[in-house]
Subunit: 237 residues, 2 copies
């Protein structure tokens, strides 16, 4: 069970402490001897980048996650780099490719991190819209929420410059920060204006609501309602 | 870059040739010395299981994928076990846990496969609804399509015993087999009856349509229309 590097991350960020939580645009440079393995990789819009987190420690088995300083968790319940086998796993969008260099969207590995595998992201196998996680850490601030929401919108296939996406991100970030006090709340329900498929898409991307279980509804008003057990708010749109 | 097993797969299937493409219900047994790492893993509905594919070969760098016997691909464009670092990556739903034993939904690793990491599935980072892949291999038959559609519905959070899910799976499987001749077709559009959120959910799960770009529409008829450049079909519902 001996790994060999098949390439390296090329990133403007070399210091882990400087890395934003969601990463930065970066490159994956595959070693020439593995170039053949890239044949037809352009069939895929998104890839998994697997790395060896060479600066991580392999112990302990429990750590305090980011944003939860007094809540120790097992490392298998976290995406922390600290783990017995420090393998990094991040999904990225492919921006461009020039031979063995692949330009990718947000990647959270520092410059020089050894790449150990590249796999295609297969929506039929990897896309779990229904996955839920109880809250682990709190986001740093409303801007951190907004950055995460925009990444989720982009992964959903939306144009993050579209006004509806901006508006939905502002609504969800406000609701989570001001109404929920940065706590997660299961069972959020959204009511959006009829005929506003663009807003419906954005709330599906960011809150994972859906019409079939009543978590996404429509009404004739020019407003978005956000509701859950912990509170409700109304936003004109 | 030396891996150590943190557990093993316990599966009723011991022979890779007998493994169904999507896997079978199985267990992950974590070694006692790593039990501490599982603290709070129950916060997550779904997990990534990373394994060392001990029966795989690390060469060549190009192979013929399943269902595409005359179409060589680079291994980084495939999920084939053949790759320089034979790491397996499969997302599973957690069914139960008893101490260090975790019962999981469909897992495609044979009995005895070394587990090298367990990570939580984070919908905010891992869920790429908009990911697209050009077709690689053809499904074996309509039943293989149906099995994949039902797994996608379950990952979407739907009850796969619900009549709407069964019906949507039958419609999509028929359309792909009979109208598209098992070819993938980008740009499928679905029109579903108004007020049938259950069908809308099912088509979002299985075809990844969405209202904002017009790929999911509604009408007042008791019928589902499936359309793309390659053909169209109408199904009473």
């Amino acid at each position: 069970m001996q790994l060999k590097p098949i390439g390296y991350v090329r990133s403007p960020i070399a210091d882990r402490k400087q890395m934003p939580p969601l990463g930065v645009p970066a490159e994956v440079e595959v070693l020439p001897e593995y170039a053949e393995g890239l044949l037809h990789i352009d069939k895929h819009s998104h890839l998994w980048i697997l790395t060896w987190l060479h600066t991580a420690t392999r112990e302990p088995l429990q750590v305090n996650p980011r944003g939860a300083e007094n809540a120790v968790h097992g490392v298998f319940a976290l995406r922390s780099p600290t783990r017995p086998n420090p393998i990094g796993l991040t999904a990225v969008g492919v921006r461009w490719r020039e031979g063995t260099r692949i330009g990718v969207s947000l990647l959270d590995f520092v410059d020089g991190t050894p790449v150990i595998d590249i796999k295609p992201y297969l929506a039929t196998r990897d896309m779990i819209y229904g996955a839920t996680s109880a809250q682990i850490g709190r986001p740093a601030d409303r801007e951190a929420i907004r950055a995460s929401l925009l990444m989720q919108a982009e992964f959903f296939g939306l144009d993050i410059a579209a006004p509806a996406v901006e508006q939905a991100a502002a609504i969800v970030a406000h609701f989570r920060a001001e109404v929920l006090g940065f706590h997660d709340a299961p069972g959020i329900r959204v009511t959006a204006p009829e005929g506003r498929g663009d807003l419906a898409d954005a709330f599906m991307a960011m809150v994972r609501v859906r019409p079939g279980n009543g978590s996404l509804r429509f009404h004739a008003l020019p407003a978005v309602w956000m509701e859950c057990a912990a509170g409700r708010a109304e936003y004109p749109v």
